[in-house]
Symmetry: C2
Subunit: 398 residues, 2 copies
Amino acid sequence: MANYLTGFKCLGCGKEYGREYDGYVCGSCLDNLDALYDYGGIGRSFAVKKLKNNKTNSVWRYKALFPFDSLDSVPGLDLSLTPLYKSAFLEETCGIEVYLKDDTRLPSASFKDRASAVVMAVAKEKNIDVVACASTGNAGCSWACMGAACGIKVIIYVPETAPRAKIAQLKVYGADIRIVKGTYDDAYDLCVNDSRENNYFNRCTGYNPYTREGKKSVSYEIWEQLGFRAPGTVLVPVGDGNIISGVWKGFRDLKQLGLIEKLPMLIAVQSDKSDAVIRTFEKIRNRENTWQEISVEQVRATTRADSISVDRPRDGTAAVRALLDTRGCGVRVSDDRIIAVISYLAARSGIFVEPAGATSVAGLIKLAEEKSVKIPEPAVCLLTGNGLKDVDAVLGGK
Amino acid sequence: MANYLTGFKCLGCGKEYGREYDGYVCGSCLDNLDALYDYGGIGRSFAVKKLKNNKTNSVWRYKALFPFDSLDSVPGLDLSLTPLYKSAFLEETCGIEVYLKDDTRLPSASFKDRASAVVMAVAKEKNIDVVACASTGNAGCSWACMGAACGIKVIIYVPETAPRAKIAQLKVYGADIRIVKGTYDDAYDLCVNDSRENNYFNRCTGYNPYTREGKKSVSYEIWEQLGFRAPGTVLVPVGDGNIISGVWKGFRDLKQLGLIEKLPMLIAVQSDKSDAVIRTFEKIRNRENTWQEISVEQVRATTRADSISVDRPRDGTAAVRALLDTRGCGVRVSDDRIIAVISYLAARSGIFVEPAGATSVAGLIKLAEEKSVKIPEPAVCLLTGNGLKDVDAVLGGK
């Protein structure tokens, strides 16, 4: 066996599937699947001592934990570990030790490249010719970028409201762009239907169980960059819920392998104009049986932070389970605060993020001000997208 | 001595200055200065074997070759080696082995960070409080980014025609922005005058001899990434001439240290609407005495590639000397071709560059089509700025 994937388990109802299952979501309850691994097998080739001697300075140093066979399948773009900066000014502002995980430096300038690179490798090993994705912008740009690097035809469904820079990326990467007159949620439904009808390989976030398997690499990097230890807290910008579920998965993997003792507390940060995951969490957080079925709330999202503007979170069950499982919580921030934090962060660190990317820092500052939640140290804020993707957010205009 | 700088030599008239000289340019002929080093001293601590065991994965692994004392002085942003990709599609198009040096991934998304990081370290060691820079956009963004990371006040003079994304970067990094109603050349003159009057530390490209000392690091990286050998050719987008003079300096350093035998051929690629360096080179290329004084031509630049739109190249003498010294040449490309190459490159590689960044590839393709110049292999094209900095170039609009 060239990889350690053993099957899938539904995050809604718990039903299990074999490793060859290609129905994407659970055939029974339609919720998303979680990939299962042979951790005993992984543990034989994956250890701290081996990592220390591993000269691969990219995310592929964690190959044993990914669900594809060969590094020959991965896109040829550089996926070096992204910077993890200790932030003196946030420590001063918030009174705790804070790190910034800067994913603005990835090839298409967003966190989504973690997912796209792994899913593209899976697609290549399945000999796929045409791949599709719905996107608020970043996932599509990332998918188109990796498709260009691999010579695979990419179809992207994107709402017409996406920022111009993201449309520009899709265009230059040569994607077949389907502009959808509607929301991200409309684009998503259209992509799922078209992909079913035309037999496209569908990268839609959460729906495709491999996106989480790509996104989880951020947790391995944080763990290694902190000197092979888990942080106390990770603050994550949340829209669809797939990034936070990826962070959760990465730390679960490390715990399964005995490499950390305890999962970090995960904090979902959402715009107060797109807070479906937090609403769901708040409804059920006091349940005794945390693994019973979850009915994910829907909202009418209107946030300026386009990347996390989501009516119906497509990985919502997983996101809520991540909060329950890590004794985490949610925090809502206003769009005004998100926009203000972009400049606040850039002027003090030299890191320019798009609105969604500023959300984690905005959430941390709010929690520190309120003193309502004890935040275990060190806290890590994920910076998920480059500010150059949406300059109108700071200049005014569309 | 904590660094190996020994002094400066004027690239125009050859006059020498001591290491403490702070007049920026030559007091006699006003041309730019070239930093001089004690290569014997450097050689005692800088060798291939030591580099192989050096665990610093950033440009600071070449510390011995920079003109500042301590790594404590460098900005805290990640300056990992940028990717060097072997390009199969360009090899097919051009019939020779080609690499792409992807500097779009640097902190402020352009090559200029190489200069800004080193010059900022020099400024910090001189206990400077206020620093200034004139810029077509990228140098200013980079300078503001590094200033933010170091907590140093930055003043930027930028022409009103700079792309919106670059203005957004300047704004969020907290720079004091002086919009100049005029060209880059007007902004440059204003910055030099204001800096003299107010005693600002001036980072203006070329005028400040340390910018070249930062930019030269790209050559060390290429050399190391090719397995400690020089490429046959490097194609460089040229505006002011300071990048190509930095590339030249990097390889000269390696030759002085006995680490390469021969300098690569340097090719200056310019827009045919901003070709002052090539015009100068063509006038004097057949001179017998290549080190006599050079009178740099001026043009009325109108290219869409804003980063290389320059009337009067501020490091023109050095750029022309780089071509003469490496038996190089110039190639002009049209703006239409530059814009077309942005999408051509992105769709085949997943790398999105701004117009200036596409210029090197456009030049290589043109030379390969014309078969007029024998291009020693491998050829390396510098990709100098991220496409997200100027999306209107591919979407239309301003």
